[in-house]
Symmetry: C2
Subunit: 169 residues, 2 copies
């Protein structure tokens, strides 16, 4: 892809787009929650052609038109999120820290082999939300931790949980 196309998309993402991670409760998931990654671009529905162009350029994701007159183009597949962020990384100026942390979350997520591991990735998702100054933190790693304890994946914590160094019984 042409460097100026990638630089344009990086500018559009910095200006009006968003990179974010969510903890989503899911039946059938081993640890009870999905860590969902998203790269999203927003625009008034009147200007939906720019979202259609983005989709045809990046060749993944889906467009939704809201009743509010706003539309968004969103990519959620972790593999695609990683591929697109790799393409945009050299040109991003505002969301550089989000891009770096996205790679860390996506890479650690692939190597999760215990509830403890999983919880550590959830803590990175919390940190990501702080980067985004998100006000509505619906599900935090605290809730996942309680779930994992209740379901016997984690022993109850001995002292107050320190995110980066959890000590269990």
């Amino acid at each position: 892809m042409q460097p100026t196309i990638l630089a344009y998309i990086a500018g559009f993402l910095d200006g009006d787009g968003s990179i974010f991670f969510q903890l989503v409760k899911r039946k059938g998931y081993v640890y009870g929650y999905q860590i969902r990654s998203s790269v999203a671009f927003y625009q008034k529905t009147e200007n939906k052609q720019i979202l259609e162009w983005l989709k045809s350029t990046l060749m993944v994701g889906y467009i939704r038109h809201r009743k509010t007159g706003m539309s968004d183009y969103t990519i959620v597949e972790p593999y695609e999120v990683k591929r697109i962020l790799k393409l945009l990384q050299p040109y991003v100026r505002l969301k550089g820290e989000q891009v770096r942390l996205s790679f860390e979350i996506l890479e650690r997520l692939q190597r999760v082999d215990s509830a403890d591991d999983f919880l550590r990735v959830c803590c990175l998702v919390d940190r990501f939300k702080e980067l985004n100054y998100s006000k509505k933190r619906i599900i935090t790693s605290k809730e996942v931790e309680q779930f994992l304890e209740q379901h016997g994946f984690l022993a109850p914590v001995e002292t107050d949980p320190v995110r980066e160094r959890v000590t269990r019984k």
Copy 2:
């Protein structure tokens, strides 16, 4: 300037920026109004560094921090607006029509030599606001026209004014 820098700025402008024209009432102006051009970029004040980078890159304009937690970086000098839009034009995808109409307004404004001429440029400003889907059209060409008539610059219109072909007594 590097093409990827210009493409990035064009993407940022398309995503979250704005090009607009305003009719501003001014004492001491021959035709009573100034036609003010603006190119503006918006961002939360927490992210003001991107606006500072834009300013240091484009080397004109000013940054304002609002009490709402938002900041903007705005360029208003017509010569600079034209120069910057010329630089960004090859990369802009969403505001292409605004860029084209900006050149038309700025070029016709330089050649104004009658109230009639001036009013025609004001009509282009109205058209520009429609492009931007602006809801608050504080001053339209209609008000300028009434002012010009009241001050003897224009003869009263014979029939209903048709914007592109005003017939006067």
